[in-house]
């Protein structure tokens, strides 16, 4: 007699044990530490923090180690941990004008107060494999400049003062929280930006790229890209004033885009905005382009039906944890639904064959 497949529990235990062994790899090679990941795979750590929506380099490094370097898996670990954390309150808005910049470039002005600072960028490296690195990764001493004193003003501020760019006055209202309330459409810009800052880098890049190729082209110039640290401050009710509770690294991208105008309004440039945890400039630039494309309605543009203009399409598909979960779930058993399809298709074929025979006779 046939005995149904049993032993799901044992199979799971064995799979987990094997996974742990594979994660460690060859025991003759020293195990690496989460400190090493944090220090030497910092850009992977940054991506995990950004898309995991949790600023903690040590936990991100641990997640990368546990996930065997699968960054989406690591992001998933961070998200699942993050959701269990109690909330003590909200910080004050961070002030990126007071960022201590490691990198600051503008594509729109050759120079501006604060200057252009290349910082630690791959931009002008020739992408030649450095075989020396395989044996010896020690870096030599690098020259250090004195840090700039005082705030680095935003380039956009200069356009703003001339009224050349569409104004974006500060608002007092507290934006909705994507992680605490179900997404509702149409979404406010604040909510869209929340979704985009933790969106999958690849998805955001693809969407942004499509706008450049004509699917809702918005003629973006990087007015400014800045990376550096900002203080996080929190109002403590018992004290009656705000105190600094920490410092985080952010990447901010402001784009200046094609201008608008009408009979009553002289032409003005428009904006796209990206702000992402860590040193994550590909993501921040992509975010700014997608943000700009999604603003077609409020800026009175036409919907040309481009994917990047479709808020519902972008917001419902940009989250890699949702996407990968649903994608991968199709490998779970579907015997029952498949069986019902089998019965149906067999019946339909039988009926069709009978009908064809009758027609032939």
């Amino acid at each position: 007699m046939y005995v149904a497949v049993k032993g799901g529990e044992r199979a799971i235990d064995n799979a987990h044990a094997w996974l742990a062994e594979e994660r460690r790899g060859n025991l003759a090679v020293p195990e690496f530490t989460t400190d090493q990941i944090r220090e030497q795979l910092a850009l992977a750590v940054n991506r995990v923090m950004a898309e995991g929506s949790l600023y903690d380099p040590d936990l991100a490094a641990l997640a990368i180690k546990q996930a065997r370097g699968d960054l989406i898996e690591a992001i998933f670990l961070i998200r699942a941990y993050r959701t269990t954390l109690p909330r003590f309150g909200g910080s004050l808005p961070v002030d990126t004008a007071n960022m201590a910049c490691d990198r600051r470039v503008s594509a729109t002005f050759k120079d501006a107060p604060g200057g252009q600072v290349l910082g630690p960028t791959f931009d002008y490296t020739h992408r030649l494999l450095d075989f020396k690195l395989a044996a010896d990764g020690e870096a030599g001493q690098v020259a250090e400049a004195a840090p700039l004193q005082g705030p680095t003003p935003h380039i956009m501020g200069f356009l703003d003062r001339e009224n050349l760019i569409q104004p974006e006055p500060a608002g007092e209202e507290t934006p909705a929280d994507l992680t605490r309330a179900p997404l509702e459409l149409p979404a406010s810009r604040a909510l869209r930006l929340q979704a985009l800052t933790r969106a999958d880098e690849g998805f955001t890049l693809g969407m942004a790229y499509s706008t450049q190729r004509g699917y809702a082209r918005n003629h973006a110039f990087v007015a400014e890209l800045r990376i550096g640290t900002v203080a996080v401050e929190m109002e403590i009710p018992e004290l009656g004033f705000a105190i600094e509770i920490g410092e985080i690294t952010l990447t901010e991208c402001e784009t200046v885009n094609q201008f608008q105008g009408s009979k009553t309004q002289p032409p003005q440039f428009t904006r796209g905005y990206g702000l992402v945890f860590g040193m994550t400039e590909r993501k921040a630039i992509s975010m700014a382009l997608v943000d700009r494309a999604l603003r077609w309605k409020e800026l009175g543009e036409d919907d040309i039906g481009a994917p990047a203009q479709d808020e519902e399409f972008v917001l419902y598909h940009c989250d890699n944890i949702q996407a990968t979960g649903f994608l991968e779930h199709i490998k779970l058993p579907h015997y029952v639904d498949f069986q019902s399809e089998l019965e149906l298709i067999r019946k339909l074929r039988r009926d069709a064959q009978v009908a064809m025979q009758e027609a032939a006779e």
Partner: protein, 276 residues
């Protein structure tokens, strides 16, 4: 697992889910949006069902988890273990012993009682989604009770195939008002949707909860001249001999030999025990 709260979720999250469940019960078949949390298992693997179960379970409950009707499929095992660890609840494979049953894709063969709760894992809660991809549009259709699109689809099936070509996740109308997706259960299970137990549906990724109180009127959509027909493989179970249970089909040899056995493993085992 002392570092996590009873049934994993924090109390505020549970309250949010519980409020959504109550509104779902008050408006049978309507999909209540809820702020689904990231769970320690992937979206699409039962996070909605798990959140609903977590919000419903008490320490006195006995939990049964099935996937495709079976207690021993890997994902059912994994979810059962999760609640054993985080809620410390008793578990069972016996349908009659369970107070809460979490399921994927099946309703047990054994009729459920008024003191039982069944929680369905739902991948796509919107019955109109494959006809209209936009949530903004489908929400309007439900608001206006405009289900013309669904009838057109079913009618097109008939004109093309001579029958309604939907075999699972077969749409139903609740109390004459909302069209609802019963989750991807085979249409064989649709008549069981009118039952004595409370039915709760959780879609985690899509952030929706919906519900059917006991004895809620559930009608599978059809036409007068093409009435709804539940169907199953025209065989009996090779293990217990049941002619009325839903069957899985197995391929037994290279020549394409087939065998049919109950998809509900507890139903099948109980019948074998009772006979022996």
């Amino acid at each position: 697992m002392t570092e996590y709260n009873f049934a994993y979720l924090d109390e505020q999250t549970k309250r949010m889910i519980r409020r959504a469940i109550l509104k779902g019960l008050a408006i049978p078949g309507y999909q209540v949006p809820f702020a689904s949390r990231e769970m320690p298992m992937p979206y699409g693997w039962g996070t909605g069902g798990v959140q609903v179960s977590a919000a419903v379970l008490t320490p006195d409950d006995t939990l049964k988890v099935i996937d495709q009707g079976a207690d021993d499929t890997t994902n059912a095992v994994s979810i059962r273990r999760f609640f054993q660890r985080t809620a410390g609840v008793a578990v069972t494979e016996k349908t009659t012993e369970a107070s809460v049953i979490q399921t994927r894709h099946r309703i047990p063969e054994q009729a459920l009682r008024a003191d039982q709760i069944i929680v369905y894992q739902v991948p796509i809660p919107e019955p109109l989604r494959f006809l209209e991809p936009s949530e903004v549009e489908t929400r309007k259709m439900h608001a206006l009770e405009d289900y013309g699109l669904m009838h057109v689809k079913l009618y097109e099936d008939i004109s093309q195939h001579g029958a309604i070509a939907t075999a699972y996740a077969y749409p139903v109308k609740i109390e004459g008002r909302y069209v609802m997706d019963p989750s991807p259960i085979p249409k064989f299970d649709n008549p069981k949707l009118e039952m004595a137990a409370i039915q709760l549906f959780g879609a985690g990724r899509e952030q929706r909860i919906y519900a059917l109180p006991p004895y809620t009127k559930v009608v599978s959509l059809d036409f007068d001249d093409y009435p709804f027909q539940p169907s199953k493989a025209d065989h009996c179970c090779a293990i217990c001999g049941s002619t009325t249970s839903y069957l899985d089909e197995l391929i037994t040899d290279d020549a394409g030999g087939r065998m049919f056995i109950c998809s509900d493993t507890d139903y099948c085992a109980t019948r074998v025990e009772d006979a022996g």
